[in-house]
Amino acid sequence: MATLPLTLAPPTATPSGADGEAAIADDPELQAGFTSWERAGDGRRVGRSHLRLAGLWCAGCAGTIERALQAEPGVLEANASYAAQRATVVWDPAATRVSSLLATIRRAGYDAAPDAAASARALRQAEERKALWRLFVAVFCMMQVMMYQAPLYVAEPGTLSPDLRTLLLWAAWVLSIPVVLFSAAPMFRDAWEAMRQRRIGMDLPVAIGILITFVVSTGATFAPGGLFGAEPYFDSLTMFVAFLLGGRYLALKARHRVAASLEGALSRLPSAVRRLASDDRVELIGLHRLVPGDRVRVLAGESFPADGPLESAAEVDEALLTGESRPVAKRPGDEAIAGSFNLAGPVVQRVERVGPDTRYAGIVSLMRTAMSARPPLLRAADRIAAPFLWGVLLLAVWAGAAWSMIDPTRAVWVMVSVLVVTCPCALSLAAPSALLAAAGALIRRGVLVQRFDALEGLAALDTICFDKTGTITEACPQVLLAELQPAGRDAGLDEAGVRAIAALLATSSTHPLSAALAAQAPALPAPITFTHVAEFPGFGVQAIGSDNRVYRLGAAGWATRGGAETVATAGPETWLAGPDGALARFAFAEVLRADAPQTMAQLAGAGLELRLLSGDAADRVHDVARRLGIAEAQGDATPADKLDTIAALQADGRRVGMVGDGLNDAPVMARADVSFAIGEGPALTRSHADFVLLSGRLGDIAEARRIAQRAMRIVRQNMAWAVAYNLTCVPLALLGLFPPWAAGLGMAASSLFVVLNALRVDRRPRSPRHPAAEAAAA
């Protein structure tokens, strides 16, 4: 690769940075993503743009930005939000442009960019407003209805004239209507949906309770002494709707907060990129026009738009993957990934992968899939709740029947209490809330949870098997030497030639060693070209050369068909073999991951049995195992051998976890109870492992296990609470000792307790971490 001088020449004949970006912000086609058009009061067509802000460090900054924007001619309205780091500006296209708005914000000392994620946020905001409106109606009406019903409670019998009593009840009835029809509508809708799908949901008892209470109270108001008795319960009705809605509103806000932070973490790609033309002229183009092979200049503080190697040294913030903002030093030739931040100074990057092929896009889609994988878990929760809810309904009916014989005036009241106080929500939320909180805690540390149920398996693990190459060792080893074999010399090849051939074959392979071979970037093209390339996982790559003979690159025994054996060297090796025998032997320097010894000690200290399973030579595998303190090691293992080992362990009754690079060990990882994928490169995001270690740190395995165990402990606590609560409150309600308003309060409070308890999963221990304390806390 050509090297650039460290001081980059200033771009010539280019638009300045601001103007170039203006071209993009004012581009009508791109503007549609963040601007909507509407009519102002005087009929003018005005634009409402959503901008993303940066550099706000307190709530007052939002005010500064608003004032700066409002002073701009052409701006009709400006609203900045510190919490959301967004601004909405209503502007007149005849007087100003979006680029001027951005420039104004920059002059004020902050930064702004068009906000492409506006539509999702707008939806969330509309949902929140609607929920708050419903909650307000319920709470406000609850207060007034209680005021109207208070005289009925406190008046001495005979002092309240029947006319006045009726008037008070009519007023209470009028104010209960909005609560039942509007505020409680989501519960009716959810209960109806559940019934249509022939399953019983948590909203069904609540909906039935509300309906019965309202009907009975209406009857008592307009036809006292008639069928429905003379006791109205409007106050209880509005109170428990208000409490339930309060719980739902808090849950909604929490969910939206998670979604917003996810969006914030993921909206890191720049919208405009500085592409270098062949004469090093800089042109500003939109991100969507970048293609592999382009070179882009990324300034300090900007994020990289694509995956690709850097042409000079740089410092990069890869918190996207690792959760750490500590700068990572990159050498010339090291790859930077899309979405990471450039910290130190301007650097040029050669684009290799863009758009959906970047690791960033892979992580986004994995996250989205993982987030939307909630419904199966909730459906499982509903399955648990279903028999419980049937029991509750039957119990309520039985209580109503029994009480109508004992004391008919209280029958309805007791039935409603029983329906409302039983909180299936606590039971149903017990597991999902804790597992979701654990998954959130893990993704913040750089571990992606693809299967939530795996958290349970992780907590119960007693054995972990590790692959060696690419897992315990660094993913991209260095090629130490290329040793020419006799057959290679006879074929007239030299070292450069065999390196070139190996590099060509290696580009088709996904094995970690191939990445090192393919990265050699030989100066001359390979003397042979290949067709019909096929990879044999665990063995190597085979291809037909231009001379119509078979070439193989891979494990010694397989590639040379028994012609060579693995030599005991310090690291792994790969053989290139042609039709006449072995052509070359490549040896790699094998470097253990930095945190491997510490992680093995931690896991062993926690009582786990560790094993090393590798396809590499047995004595090298044993050597690595000895260095790391792993008791059991198995070398020369084919994928089938690894499968057998895991199956044997499972037959022994053990719960086995497998750590590998996700692609080469796919069937083995599927067989294990829990699987971890670790490694570099886009292949990682295509793996189907239960946990994906985005950060490349082995220590995250121990961390994940600690969090999973905390989560399971919290699940058990939640379940215990839910059972205890129901066992206590249902008998009380059956006995008529639980008024409906208290039932509503209890139901909301118990759900809230379960959710809040789940948030404890991420609480870090206050004492400094060291193995003994870890083992004690685990």
């Binding site: 009061g41 939000s81 510190y82 959301a84 407003r129 708050l132 307000f136 009406c141 008037l167 007023a171």
Partner: protein
């Protein structure tokens, strides 16, 4: 206590009026960022007092803002 026959229906109407006021406040984004609203009082956005209306910008600003 006959006055209650007037007051109670009136209070129901008042409740509706108050709900409408809340709805207006909600829809004009006043509840979107409560921290910001709380610190608005700390902002020093009082424009300088232009006693003799001499500054030319004042008239233009007042006529262009809705």
């Amino acid at each position: 206590m006959d006055i209650l026959f007037l007051l109670i229906p009136f209070s129901v109407l008042l409740v509706f009026a108050l709900m409408a006021a809340f709805l207006w406040a909600l829809q004009t984004s006043q509840f979107d960022d409560l921290d910001r609203e709380g610190t608005r009082i700390l902002g020093d956005d009082d424009p300088d007092l232009d006693v003799d209306q001499a500054s030319p910008g004042a008239l233009a600003r007042h006529s262009s803002s809705p």
